[in-house]
Amino acid sequence: MTDLIEMSGICKAFAGVVALQDAQLHLKPGEVHAVIGQNGAGKSTLIKILTGVYRKDSGSVKINGSETGISTPREAQDAGIATIYQELSLVPLRSVTENVMMGYEPRTKLGLIDWQRAHLQAEKTLKRFGVDIDVRAQLGTYSTAIQQLVAIARAASMKAQVVIMDEATSSLDDQEIDILFRVVRELKKQGVAILYISHFLDELYQICDRVTIMRDGQTVGQHVVSETTKLGLISEMLGRDPEEIEAAGMTGLGGEKRNQPGEVLLEADEISTGHGLKDVTVSVRKGEIVGLGGLLGAGRTEVARALFGLDALRKGKITHRDGPDRISNPAHAIEAGIGFLTEDRKREGIIPHMSVRENMTLALLPRLRKFGGVDRKREQELVGSFICSLGIKTASMEQPIRELSGGNQQKVLLARWLALDPRLLILDEPTRGVDVGAKFEIQSIIRDYVEKGLGVLLISSEFEELVEGADRIVVLQDGHSVTELENPGVTEERLIAAIAHHYERGAA
């Protein structure tokens, strides 16, 4: 059987940073094909090349055996590729019918929309997927699951050959997921190929036929799902030896609790938020680095957000030493001596128009107040000393931050927090997207400050960084803290085993 879609030798770089290198994807008609990989492995870049959002640098994309040059989302749609995004691209304020039929409405002889027929067609399309709803009602009045099904129905009615589902289940509950899966099977019966992107490995075994595994911009494996094990998939995703993981996993997880010197700065006790945190207990002491381990979607960033006062607690309690009882916004958190280096430098970190100096002192500004203005002299001294001590490469402190390299931008943002002389610093992927040299420098800077008594909560997808850096690692899974590993004694294998082990326990 020829492949419906054959992507091979795909390369793509963004501003010199390689995102894909010789990536492959082979999709057969009527199969459900999963694409898995860690953050930054290149899954979404690959999909976006297929859907015409990005242009490939090299490689070939063949549909039904013939080379295509899809370069816009519209062309992809015309070629029969439909995408269901996590954030729905529908119009919630219009009726279900309008959403299903948009752009393809049946017309009357006068050229007006034939609503009678449109409603009938929309109803028919939805019923095929076992969705029986009032198509005249506003789409927004239905649940996310129904909306997602409407999106799929729309795709099907447009005679899509391939439906791409990007994290389709992330906002659905169990029952809704069942409905979605039923629809997926229905589509499959009709010969539609489904490209299924998910972080939840359990789903893969329920619904997918084959799986493509990506790591560091490359396709590292393609398997029939029934011939794989979760341990195998994880080891391939992470690039580790499965026997090693298993062997390490057998020698006992969690480790014994040991007494740790240094007073407790912060203690989060069984906290949960509306944003995916269910039950997490974590504490940070003075002069230690506590790592948060876990796969994407396990709730690592959500812990950081809760501690920084961005998401309100639903349950549980956060206790600060010398701090206020409750932190309800970032300004409070900063007053309480907490800093938060976010993972998304561009969207949540830098202020692109502003200079290195202005970016660095943004959080510190209230403390630089003098006679109603900003104390320029102190500001310049401070910025100068940080540029020097962190080795920030910039033409001058007045250079706009957007002109700096990723690593130097990150150092400026790190300095933004270090300048506050914080008690606790939350670092979310502090070395993502920076080059090797800067990465090492950033890690040493953090270590220096920890030796002076700073407490750090470190979130990292790089196991090496966690294992070598953290004194303790709290392992998260599905919003729960499941175990804690203590250094010395933690190896990458043990960490991965902890993550994998609990995965298997979760499936049972």
């Binding site: 949540e348 692109p352 202005e358 943004l362 500004l365 203005g373």
Partner: protein, 335 residues
């Protein structure tokens, strides 16, 4: 006066040749070039342009646009827009004569004068607080939030005055619009004072830095502990306060208050001046003196067309042309 203008004429000649070669230079200095071109054109074509009287007329007319444009620049710097400035001018302008012609003020002229300036400005500040509250706490889009006063503000002013033209004789109050210091109109000094103070606020204070940060990247600002809501409200309050002042000046110039006409279409002039002055509509930049320059350009274009017998309606089209050009140059600057 004369030699100075001759000089600007010469520079315009040299910039004309550069204009063809270096586009980025043109887009970065578009405002200054436009000003020079207009001045040169007027010196050659418009009769009596170099007469001091012309200068005074232009200063007194540009003052209100410039004052409101400075406030507008702050709001635009947060990524917002304020459509209510003209209506707030009308409201403040309508209140002032009501206050100083009231029996109480007639009996206590000093207090009455102070109140007739302070109360309208306070009311304007309240309008701004309302705008800011709508935008930051209720997350209403700025264009909609300020549309509320755009519509109702002038309505309230008309209700207060029964829709009548109020004329008055009050030399002390009229000083705001007709007073002269060292031969130059009082409001010219006021514009300079406001510009310097606001420039200082934007460039030297914590509030100013936070204002630009909110416009530059609101998420990042919030995560850095910037009180985003308060900063936004601050911008709208300052903008409305300045609009209120501008309204008083218009009334003082005319010694009459017509609620239907004060500040009519001012929002468009102010936005145009801010944009011509280099403000980015997506926020993050607050070129205060740019806004003044923009106001001067718009005023001069109006004057040029008027002085040369072009109809008012055509002047509107010219204004639109300036805005299009300014926005185009802004886009070009972004590469």
């Amino acid at each position: 006066m004369t030699p100075e203008n001759k000089q600007t004429l010469n520079t315009s000649g040299t910039s004309g040749t550069r204009l063809q070669f270096d586009w980025s230079w043109v887009s970065n200095n578009g405002g200054v070039i436009a000003l020079i071109v207009i001045l040169a054109f007027n010196v050659i074509v418009t009769p009596n342009f170099l007469n001091p009287q012309t200068l005074f007329v232009n200063i007194s007319q540009v003052a209100t646009i410039a004052i409101v444009a400075v406030g507008m620049t702050l709001v635009i710097a947060t990524g917002g827009i304020d459509l209510s400035v003209g209506a707030v001018m009308a409201l403040a302008g309508a209140m002032a004569p009501l206050i100083f012609t009231s029996p109480f003020a007639e009996a206590n002229p000093q207090i009455g004068l102070v109140l007739s300036i302070v109360v309208p400005v306070l009311v304007a500040l309240l309008c701004g607080a309302f705008n800011g509250f709508m935008v930051s706490y209720l997350n209403v889009q700025p264009i909609v939030a300020t549309l509320i006063f755009f519509i109702s503000g002038r309505g309230i002013a008309l209700v207060l005055t029964n829709g009548n033209l109020q004329t008055f004789t009050n030399p002390e109050f009229s000083y705001l619009g007709t007073g002269k210091i060292l031969g130059f109109p009082f409001q010219g000094y006021l514009v300079l004072l406001i510009a310097v103070v606001v420039w200082w606020v934007v460039n030297q204070t914590v509030f100013g830095r936070q204002l630009l940060a909110v416009g530059g990247n609101e998420k990042a600002a919030r995560l850095s502990g910037v009180p985003v809501k308060r900063v936004k409200i601050g911008a709208y309050v300052i903008c409305a306060g300045l609009s209120g002042m501008a309204g008083l000046i218009v009334v003082a110039i005319n010694s009459a208050s017509d609620a239907a006409r004060i500040g009519n279409l001012m929002e468009l002039d102010a936005i145009a001046a801010a944009v011509v002055g280099g403000a980015l509509l997506q926020g993050g930049k607050a070129p205060i003196f740019g806004a003044i320059l923009g106001a001067v350009i718009i005023q001069l274009v109006k004057y040029t067309l008027l002085a040369n017998g072009v109809a008012d309606e055509v002047a509107l089209i010219a204004k639109a042309g300036i805005i299009v050009t300014a926005v185009y140059l802004q886009q070009a600057r972004k590469e």
